[in-house]
């Protein structure tokens, strides 16, 4: 826990990121629209920031819960750091999402007027439950009250995390009118992205080389995502009707690089894998919207292109900074509690 909570450089970067991204979040929320969005391209980098951080949180939660249930002591020894990381990433995800939805208060309508047929409702609800479960676990750690209900809480966290990652994919996969989104592969992609995020981030928090207990599963998961992307590429390059080829071969190539250095240089592996995951998620979310539907074609053209602007990058920085600062504060609080 020490490396990432005591380095002043990380803290300064995160504080600067909070200011930089916060400016654009405030501008978007209260002053004027600043994203590169229009009526045909509605979900861009700010939403992908949410997807990226939420899936990363899910991945860390799954690895943590799995280690707890299987009695993996190498990972369990760092449970507080993993728990705080999962919680912080999710808070960062919600911070990014709030800027994307026009008002942070809008998210509460999900609870007040639910539509259980909506994948977005399930996604929001499951991630809210995940946030509560992680919060309860943290509260248990702070108060040393994790004894009685620890295992059932862990099982619930695992189930909710897996369900949340799958449902997040179904937000896109159930869109029947857009061939680029529609299909079960969307849920498989988000689950694999979550798992790869988890196996890449967790070693960073263990302050050591990747332990033998995680090595095989980590390699298998990174390889599985790379394989899925290659299959997707082969399918799309053949010219599937109504679908654009959003997969580039460098995506699986970079994942393979991350896989190869996974054991020896976990930090570099994560440094390669995490941006690749972000670009994979961004490419997937954007491609489904590039073909313009209906009368918007008359105004925007049949095809669009997308390049994020500074404000959107700012929201990415904002979400990551919020996540890191939460991680810093919570780790300090935990350390202080343990010491006292």
């Amino acid at each position: 826990m020490n490396t990432y909570t005591s380095n002043p450089l990380f803290l300064v970067i995160a504080a600067a990121g909070l200011l930089f991204g916060g400016y654009f979040a405030i501008e978007e929320l209260f002053i004027r629209p600043s994203f590169v969005t229009n009526d045909a391209l509605v979900w861009t980098l700010p939403l992908v920031t949410y997807v990226f951080l939420a899936l990363a949180s899910t991945g860390v939660s799954i690895v943590m819960a799995h280690a707890e249930l299987t009695g993996n002591e190498e990972v369990n020894a760092h449970k507080p750091a993993l728990l705080v990381a999962a919680l912080s990433l999710l808070i960062g995800a919600f911070a990014a999402l709030a800027s994307e939805m026009g008002s942070p208060l809008n998210m509460f309508w999900l609870l007040l007027s639910p539509n259980i047929s909506s994948p977005i409702w399930w996604m929001g609800t499951l991630y809210a439950i995940e946030l509560v479960l992680l919060g309860v676990k943290l509260f248990g750690l702070l108060g040393d009250k994790d004894k009685g209900y620890g295992q059932s809480l862990t099982i619930m966290t695992l189930v909710v995390a897996i369900a949340a990652a799958l449902v997040l994919g179904s937000v896109f996969g159930t869109v029947g009118g857009r061939e680029g989104f529609s299909g079960l592969d969307a849920s498989l992609l988000t689950l694999l992205c979550a798992l790869v995020s988890g196996v890449c981030l967790v070693p960073l928090l263990l302050n050591d080389k990747v332990q033998s207990s995680m090595l095989q599963s980590g390699r298998i998961l990174i390889g599985a995502l790379a394989l899925m992307l290659v299959v997707q590429y082969i399918y799309l390059v053949g010219g599937a009707p109504g679908e654009l080829n959003w997969v580039s071969l460098w995506m699986p190539a970079l994942l393979i690089c991350a896989l190869l250095i996974y054991q020896s240089y976990p930090a570099f592996s994560a440094l390669v894998a995490m941006p690749t995951l972000l670009i994979i998620e961004l490419s997937f979310v954007i491609q489904g919207q590039l073909i313009v539907l209906g009368p918007k074609q008359t105004w925007l053209g049949v095809f669009q292109s997308y390049m994020p602007n500074v404000a959107e990058v700012g929201i990415l920085v904002f979400g990551c900074s919020v996540a890191y600062l939460c991680f810093f504060v919570l780790c300090r609080t935990l350390n202080h509690r343990i010491e006292s």
């Binding site: 026009g102 998210m107 929001g124 919207q289 209906g294």
Partner: protein
């Protein structure tokens, strides 16, 4: 009772009268058209084809936007209309992504800001919002109080909006504004459940089809005949 519409492509002259009538009736902003058009040109000179398809919300029976909306802001109303409650809308845009017809619009900016301006373009030619409020009126000088009964005159930033088939007019026994404004009577509205209604008869007679019928959304705006100038007498 299920409201539906028939658009006769042979009668439609592409004048956009429906678009402007809708705008006036429902006071949509500059960037938003509830009633809109898909214009396509195809072929090579001299065999060029120009096609104009008037389009709006299809009020689908199995509306993907209703299923996707997490807060029930998009919902099914009386007569099978797909309606939107802006008070419940959280601006997630799931309805826009899920609508296969691209007919839902988002208020990216604060709408109708110009309506709040207190200075006119020319002296005496402008009723400002302040003057309206002073006289006891509501909304904006440009707003239509009748449609405001069904949908807010001034929309909120960060919410979506779309055609509601002029539900306020249907309730009053009138046709939607686009139907009444069409100079060639290309549009007919009526009850799809009534086999004797004009819409049902036209659909049967000309084998009317909705847009993207293969999706099975149960779209209730049907198109009949195609633009064939040689048959236009």
């Amino acid at each position: 009772m299920r409201y539906g519409m028939v658009i006769d492509q042979q009668k439609c002259v592409g004048c956009s009268g429906c678009v402007f009538a809708c705008k006036a009736e429902n006071h949509t902003t500059d960037d938003i058209n509830w009633c809109d058009k898909i214009i396509t040109t195809s072929g090579q000179y001299p065999d060029v084809k120009f096609e104009y398809v008037s389009t709006m919300c299809n009020h689908c029976d199995n509306a993907p936007c209703v299923g996707a909306c997490p807060t029930q802001a998009m919902h099914k109303g009386e007569g099978g209309l797909t309606l939107h409650d802006p008070d419940k809308c959280i601006g997630c845009k799931a309805c826009m992504v899920n609508c296969p017809y691209g007919v839902i619009s988002f208020n990216w900016e604060k709408p109708h800001e110009r309506w709040l301006v207190d200075t006119g373009v020319a002296a005496g030619s402008f009723t400002s919002a302040t003057m309206l409020m002073a006289a006891g009126g509501e909304g904006s000088p440009h707003s239509n109080p009748e449609s405001a009964e069904a949908y807010p005159s001034v929309r909120s930033r960060g919410t979506v909006e779309k055609c509601n088939f002029c539900v306020h007019r249907l309730k009053a026994g009138l046709s939607p504004a686009c139907v009444d404004a069409c100079p060639s009577r290309a549009r007919v509205v009526g009850d799809l459940d009534d086999p004797a209604s004009e819409v049902s008869q036209l659909i049967r007679k000309y084998e009317g089809k909705p847009l993207r019928a293969e999706l099975g959304t149960g779209a209730k705006v049907f198109y009949i005949r195609s633009y064939t100038p040689e048959r236009r007498t």
